[in-house]
Point group: C2
DNA sequence: TTAACAGGTCAACGGTGTTGTCATAAGGTG
DNA sequence: CACCTTATGACAACACCGTTGACCTGTTAA
């Protein structure tokens, strides 16, 4: 039974649930998000979602082909929310840095949803809008198409990947998280210099640094490399010899 | 029943399974790894693992408290294997690039383990060894401690985060994965230029680029930024030789 | 007013991780 | 060697899970 789902636009008969709820794609997505936030990622199941909505679990299959489709819808809603709060200034570097931090913050604000959706390509409206926007920023800055796509891909995946990573940490049960924090203090900071000289020498920095997300640092490194690349490209264009003079990582 | 598990060291009675197999932590971990490799990430369940071992599923709970514990043991083994296959040459940049690619490949080979272990600090032997090694490479290259720790953190987290991200994608059920691949071809490549000019202009590159992991590109960007930073630092040192020069860099 | 059918419901299938209980063979002890 | 303890494997059951085929019923368009 694969044509159970009816496109949202064609829905006419808004028949209420036994418990009086009128279902809709938006209501389901919202409820799923709420459920995830309140009771954790593993609290999201078709059955629980049905219960939370006041509907039979199987009703949801009139709106989404499978759980996966539902997750994609949730993911897209998250992208949309982030994109709507972003105000580009025209400075590509600052704009991308800001957008990246917003995406990361958005993921952390909805950790469990972020974990589930970070690795999916939704092909839905907000995602497409984000792709178009970021590509526009890069091309507008002067990156040629190949470079723009390459950097777009790395930039976006980095934001998503760190978002998911830090979200996963955030979503850890309390005792587990405390235990992890303790490891750096209790184990790494105590290692003797003769067996682990480098850890011992930097223990102070490690303990201080490891408790924060490394995303801002990682993003700055990535973007500054992109900026350097852009400078090279511009220089090459101006001189217009056969090759740019600046050496690249080469490989 | 939480004290079902007996530490490996205390095991004395090697009682064979009904089917004649003698269980052990190593055998279980190995079999789990093999199962994942042969039949995909979703083929690993306690029941299937039991079947593959020739033992009742519940027997495994004498060795691991829950599935997560098992996956962490698998992950630790993975770190060890990756480190063991890595041959540093002394060129810090090439060595870190190589190690990163190995970590990423290792994660992809065992997606479930990678997803679970990416955001955890285990404090186990191989993890400590990895920290010490990478810090050593960075400090040996000439990064001062603060920078070394900052870059270490970004570098490692990026490897872990991309490993988990790409693993999650790999671990997707096959139909879902095919669907994702199709999205780029069928949706992004078809968007009209008047509504989505940037996507339309780069569609060819997008389709080609998006099917691969962006990790190599992202890592190259991060490492090249680090290299630029190191050049800066060295230049600063040369100009301001307050410290003993030590061995000359000579790249 | 009514008939078609969208959309909600029910029950069932085959899967999952996990645990309480029982059975038995291994291994130390005398 | 025989005995006893007990570690460890097996079994059965529990509570979930996603999904689907069949059924039932209220809404809506004609």
């Amino acid at each position: 039974m694969s044509d159970r789902v009816v496109p949202a636009a064609d829905r006419r008969r808004r028949r209420p649930t036994k418990q009086g709820v009128v279902l809709s794609e938006e209501l389901i997505v919202e409820t799923a998000l709420r459920l995830i936030e309140e009771h954790g990622a593993e609290a999201l199941s078709v059955r629980r979602l049905g219960r939370a909505l006041g509907a039979d679990p199987s009703s949801l299959y009139r709106y989404f082909r499978h759980t996966d489709d539902l997750m994609l819808a949730v993911a897209d809603e998250l992208i949309g929310r982030t994109l709507r709060t972003w105000r580009p200034t025209g400075d590509w570097l600052a704009d991308l840095r800001d957008l990246g931090l917003r995406m990361h913050a958005g993921a952390l604000a909805h950790p469990r949803a972020a974990m589930l959706s970070s690795y999916r390509v939704t092909g839905r409206v907000y995602e497409i809008q984000a792709v178009e926007t970021i590509l526009g920023v890069l091309r507008g800055a002067g990156f040629p198409d190949t470079e723009a796509v390459r950097i777009y891909h790395a930039y976006v995946d980095q934001a998503l990947a760190f978002g998911a990573l830090d979200s996963a940490n955030t979503a850890l049960p309390k005792p587990a998280r405390d235990a992890e924090a303790a490891v750096w203090q209790a184990m790494y900071a105590q290692l003797p210099a003769d067996t682990h000289p480098h850890i011992a020498a930097t223990a102070r920095h490690l303990v201080a640094t490891m408790r924060h997300s490394s995303y801002p640092a990682a993003q700055d490194l990535l973007l500054s490399a992109a900026a350097a690349r852009l400078a090279e490209i511009r220089a090459g264009e101006r001189a217009l010899p056969t090759r740019s003079a600046g050496r690249s990582p080469s490989s």
